[in-house]
């Protein structure tokens, strides 16, 4: 197992290197520069700025230098926000997104997985139709509809919760619900599908023939296999949800990471784009590795190799 993890980490590092190179080239190939603005800047000042950020050197040299910095954990300064480094920006906003994301995901799992199991066990009854209709609506309703809707009902009409900002625990509830419901809908459908597949297997009939009660059939015989689709989705979902959601962060005015993805691209903040891309890619790689380990733990037919 250690060998498997080590191998996958090496593979992951190569993937990250590739992603870094491609992103670097794409950013470099984009016309314009971070320093072009509507105000005319004197050529000698522009040259000075470019020299400061290293833009006066050939692209190959710039790539090697920046890669060297990244390997040392230094993503460089922000090209747009003076006096702030990429590491600082990520360091301030990532914990916010991590907190919001973890709570949302927990909510999504606690709601979605039991709903999916219930729907599969009670298939074709109202206990299946109601949660599945709700989850279909949850998938179809974008967060920019759900968010304002929740804010309107619980924030403005009922006045129970604050609608924007990021100051105390009560500020987490609405955005976490908005984000969580969306993922809960996915988890519910995936869990239902997985459980239904298990419940239709021949070995369930064998268990019934042994006199095993239905509840034991669900928990002992079907749950492991039935959760596999949901767990496969969990990897990318985890990376996506904790790296922040631009929409939810914008609606609820949360200083998270998601907004930086958009701002960095709009501002052509080269170093920030690179830093965020590497961070996101690294999370995907690690989450997928974790998911693979869990898969092997659940399914005895899989082996580490």
């Amino acid at each position: 197992m250690l060998k498997f993890i080590a191998l996958r980490l090496v593979q992951g590092a190569l993937v990250l290197l590739g992603i870094y190179a491609v992103t670097f080239l794409l950013v470099a190939a984009t016309p314009g520069s971070p320093f072009s603005s509507e105000r005319a800047i004197a050529p000698e000042i522009l040259a000075q700025i470019e020299a400061f950020y290293g833009y006066d050197r050939p692209i190959g040299e710039r790539f090697v230098t920046s890669l060297g910095n990244v390997l040392q954990g230094e993503f460089g300064p922000s090209a747009v926000y003076a006096n702030r480094t990429v590491t600082q920006i990520i360091g301030e906003s990532f914990p916010v997104s991590l907190k919001l994301g973890s709570i949302s995901l927990l909510l999504a799992l606690l709601l979605g997985v039991p709903a999916g199991i219930l729907a599969a066990v009670k298939r074709n009854t109202w206990l299946d139709y109601v949660p599945m209709s709700v989850s279909m609506a949850g998938i179809c309703l974008p967060t920019f509809v759900m968010g304002p809707l929740l804010a309107l009902v619980f924030g403005l009409i009922l006045q129970w919760l604050p609608v924007a900002g990021w100051y105390g625990p009560e500020f987490v509830i609405l955005p976490a619900t908005t984000l969580g419901l969306y993922y809960a809908a996915y988890f519910a459908r995936l869990t239902r599908g997985g459980m239904l597949e298990m419940l239709n297997q021949d070995f369930v009939r064998t268990a019934r023939a042994k006199g095993v009660p239905e509840s034991t059939i669900v928990w002992k015989h079907c749950l492991k296999g039935g959760l596999i689709p949901a767990i496969t989705f969990l990897g990318p979902a985890l990376a996506g949800i904790i790296s922040g959601s631009f929409v939810v962060e914008t609606i609820f005015q949360i200083p998270g990471l998601g907004q930086w993805f958009v701002r960095a691209a709009l501002n052509r903040d080269d170093f920030l784009v690179l830093g965020l891309t590497v961070l996101f890619a690294a999370m995907i790689v690690i989450m997928n590795l974790l998911v693979d380990i869990v898969q092997v733990a659940l399914n005895p037919r899989l082996k580490y190799d």
Binding site: A207, A209, V212, H221
Partner: protein, 350 residues
Amino acid sequence: MALLEVNDLTTHFHTRDGVVRAVDGVSFSLDRGETLGIVGESGSGKSVTCYSLMRLIPEPPGRIERGTAMFDGQDLLKMGPRELRKIRGNRISIIFQDPMTSLNPYLRISTQLVEALQMHTDIDRKSAVNKAIAALEEVGIPEASKRVHSYPHEFSGGMRQRVMIAMALITEPDLLIADEPTTALDVTVQAQIMDIIKQRQNDLGTAVILVTHDLGVVAGTCDKVLVMYGGREMESGSAEQIFYHPRHPYTRALQKTIPSLQAKGQELFTIPGLPPDVSKPIPGCAFYPRCPYPKTGTPEGERPALAEIEPGHCWSACGFCDSSAPIETVLTKAGDVADDTLPETAGSNA
């Protein structure tokens, strides 16, 4: 009193395309330690009969319409789920056709083996596992104490069926239902599996219902035989009666299909035509469209009543053909005209 007394068992499936009469009024009885063979073509209702007894028919679409199945004084068909669970896996066990899918790939063999024991008896896990090891040894699995903790995918098909047998018999049930236990297996292990079932039956005194296509196996193992066709009982009796004095045209034709009883070098005999479509009502005799005997009437009305020829030997006394002569007398003729007179698809006899 018989251990199991089944009377007029009728199981239908209510599908969108109509009612499938999978089992239509089947009766039989079985004493302790006896072996009953249920034979018939695919789709003749053999398996559904067994699943109905264990109440393993998915409901809906399936429904047990009529009948009783008195097992040791209790009607299996009218039992509540709780009582049923006490019988399943404890007093009646079942072995399924496909050992590759009948074991749970996510659980260890040991977990699955001890499950019935722990469900039905007060036994601690350690003694249960020891019993499981002993059960595996009984069915001839080498290094049982080591292999008991393996997963199903680490076993071959034949080994898995041995595990299924060990699992079914671990609670020493009164009745074992074996639903085509060798059909999905390699020919080389089929005989071994049958031997193990027979041997364990002798050890434990279990009654066995053996569902099979293989008439040779029936002749070698069964005390009683039930011949089914189109969900109905065609003939039943002791193995001797069925094999030496078959009465029903279908039983006779079925016997003619046994390869080892046919002359070498000749094309093997098969019954022309297809089994009937049980989703439509079948008037009169279900076998009529494929029957090689000279027809004497048009099938209509209810199915023929069962007539007892001698004690214990019943047949569905069809009055639509003249089946007094042995089948050899009509076969050459039937072979000649088979393609013209026998409809390709059954059920189109209305």
